[in-house]
Symmetry: C2
């Protein structure tokens, strides 16, 4: 079965450079926008390697709906994806899907689950590119909604669908070099190889799981089904902990004033 060769991509990226996206001296480079050219660059490398299998997430949906012009209802469009879990992770909302037409196709959205989708032999590999200015001591980036991932795990269990979904991350480390950004290192992480209880959920930051890809634990040895159950356990424990903390911090101390 064909899969993305992450090692090869990491190697290809190292030492490459991209144009810096803002004016030199126009302030520090940080946040999502700074590394965006590297996201595009990784996509181009992957597309060149796997032209028939690699898409932007929104491109994949556009292609799919364009290929089936007679499929119009939301339900039927959703059914075009042959995996309920892929559907959950990839689809746009009901309204956007209903309003989709060849004249009103999807555009890129920042809260799409993945930057890039690899789809071949019935396997959906969701690939996200995280870029990192290694001269800044930045917080770990948002990876994926912990709730969306919990729903995906529940879906896998409900549909006994364990082998056709991958969620993988590429980290591009860069430094400023005059007018360009230089990739000094690159890393790869498989979400489903991380021990679920090592994942950190930032409830106050849109329930995002946060980590630097380079630091992602990769020691999980169990099956995907066991992973899904372990993850849901961790998610529920974390939610309970957050609820208790909210009560202690945001409710109890203020009751005496009201």
């Amino acid at each position: 079965m064909k899969r993305v060769d992450y090692k090869a991509i990491l190697k290809e990226m190292r030492g490459t450079s991209v144009e810096r996206p803002n004016k030199t001296g126009a302030g520090t480079l940080s946040g999502h926008a700074a590394g965006e050219p590297f996201e595009k660059s990784v996509y181009q490398h992957l597309k060149k390697k796997y032209p028939a299998a690699v898409f932007k997430q929104f491109e994949y949906l556009n292609d799919l709906y364009l290929k089936h012009p007679k499929v119009i209802s939301v339900k039927d469009r959703y059914a075009l994806l042959d995996s309920p879990t892929a559907l959950l992770l990839l689809n746009r909302g009901d309204k956007a899907t209903r309003e989709w037409s060849p004249e009103n196709i999807f555009e890129e959205k920042q809260n799409d689950t993945a930057d890039i989708l690899y789809h071949a032999d019935g396997f959906y590999d969701l690939i996200d590119v995280k870029t990192r200015n290694i001269n800044k001591n930045a917080q770990p980036p948002n990876i994926i909604s912990a709730y969306k991932l919990a729903k995906a795990c529940a879906n896998m269990i409900d549909n006994e669908e364990y082998d056709n979904i991958g969620i993988n991350y590429i980290e591009i480390d860069w430094v400023e070099e005059g007018d360009r950004l230089l990739c000094t290192d690159s890393h790869y992480g498989d979400l489903f190889k991380a021990m679920p209880n090592t994942l950190y959920i930032n409830w106050a930051a849109a329930m995002q799981i946060q980590f630097h890809v380079a630091d992602l634990n990769q020691s999980w040895q169990g099956t995907r089904k066991e992973w899904a159950v372990e993850y849901i356990k961790m998610f529920v424990e974390s939610a309970k902990h957050r609820v208790r903390k909210m009560e202690e911090t945001y409710i109890t101390p203020f009751l005496k004033y009201i």
Copy 2:
């Protein structure tokens, strides 16, 4: 008692323009960075009008500590602010305050409460500038942590300190015009004139209160003490609602899998 003349500032800003911060064609202008030049511009206008009273928040603390070189402990430095509520809203953390020295002064931080501080006659006016690309239909911006504001209200009540703190917002509406951004309109809002129960807390976005300044309710008629109590009531209700929602959404539906 001297106060900031907001009407005059709003009028001065309208029709002014600033250099656009990124290259034309280098992508859309959005987020915090886009309107930053207008933030600076409002500060410059205020500083010119009230040179002895207007500071950046971090500048104010730097000046205060530089003026009292023999005050070194965290506790004593905090005591330099004569208002417990101003202290809560303006100070940096214990660690940063301990490590402050003339050789290691504070720099601007994005999560400072205010962009600008007006301090005169014992009155602390915290002023934040929100900039808005009126050709984008953007979500209301983060205004202030609902929790920080709840603590400030509790502080006001504990210290019976109701008349020496203001929290005010200026909105600069702008459009792109070639190489420049043009201010087409400006708005002002007094947080303590908003009916507390009209304020929206986005718990998943770092508990931020979010609104467009132009849309801020300004119909509160009661005293500041009543406002503080009303706000805390709203905050606690909102926290309880969030806790119930978390239990219903993130815990109960997943219990059957574990």
